[in-house]
Amino acid sequence: MIERKREEYYINVNPLQTGGRTNSEVRKVALQYVDGYSVCDYCKGMLHLIEKPPICDLTRELSRFLDMDESRITLGAREGKFAVIHTLLQPGDTIVCDSNRHYTTYVAAERVGAKIYEVESTGYPSYEIRPEGYREMIEKIRSETNKPPKLAILTHVDGEYGNLTPAKEIGEICKEYDVPFLLNAAYTAGRMEVKGKELGADFLVCSCHKGFGVPGAIGILATTNRWVNELFRKSQVYKKKDVELLGCTARSLAVATLIAALPYVKERVKKWDEEVEKARWFVDRMEGLGNITQLGVRPTQHDLLRFETPLLREIGKHHRKKGYFLYYELEKRGIIGLKPGQTDWFKLSTYGLTWDQVKYLYEAFEEIVKKFSG
């Protein structure tokens, strides 16, 4: 039998996993919809039209929640990105995106044969994406190809530094050049309030197993009235089926649990300031240990934290377990989620932890540092 009890035994700080942790109400629904095709008892020919369970209400609710005109369920953010790129671009067309992007942005573009132009970040130590970088890159593409890019993609918060980008300003630049704007909200939607149209997004993609506290695999692809017919175009033969989505996407417990999770998600985004407060408290204490620095924009605006940790690297040099000491010492104290062997730097997330857990987390680092340094 395979088993996993990590969330129950430990404090898990893996940034990939903290926003996808489920609550009991979500798991109760998961139990009932665990069988394959279980949401298809009353099929209406298309996933987003099913009334029982109320998936049709879910997609309407999601559009309102994300301030977009129409939404569809996908298998994740990457599938949403690919659907948009595939709809808008032909091989050889260009995309402008940020250099902090997820690898799937690149791969999705590659699959279509599009050419990517990256807006470089400011580099060490803040790795910021400047809005003006988008203007400069659009101008560069125009001068090189005699036309603007077919699409601009922005990673709202990236998975390396947890930097919250100025999406609204970039959205305005895109509007100025009439470049469709896709916002990748995988690390923001479901954690904090994201209002797509207010940010100027033509397309919004979300990862619900990353940010909506559900098992997945499930995401959201949302758009505005301007693009609905093009993006959600129907098959010539199968009149109800969305071509880009290959018909129905996330079924069974993935979509049923999203229905159950949405009311909780609507409440938890209201507590985002407290999540940021916890992250900042933790950064402040960690830096107080000496020779540990938070990379990325400061003060942090997100729970995903990247630390540069020469202090721990030095300890690792003299420890019999070398760089692995940190992983084992944390595990002994009931903390997991850091990559084994990493002591030069690491990423972690404080999202969803109680204050007691955040304090425990810091105290574990403090204890380890005291035990091994000097």
């Binding site: 969330e7 129950e8 942790r21 009991s24 798991r27 009931g334 903390i335 857990q357």
Partner: protein
């Protein structure tokens, strides 16, 4: 026997509530007075449901 199906789900659901408490209190699982009360109440409810199910099987 439909009642026993419902009871089976009711017990699993109670266990999921219990699981939330282990998650919130990991890794030490030190319970506050409120959490202790909640855990005991879940155990009590689960026992009652199991007892009813057992009786229904014997009937």
């Amino acid at each position: 026997m439909k009642e026993n199906v419902d009871r089976t789900f009711a017990i699993i659901e109670l266990m999921e509530d219990l699981r939330d408490i282990w998650r919130e209190t990991s890794p030490t699982h030190t319970l506050s007075p409120e959490q202790k009360e909640k855990v005991l109440s879940i155990i009590l409810d689960a026992n009652k449901i199991l007892k009813r199910m057992e009786e229904a099987i014997y009937d």
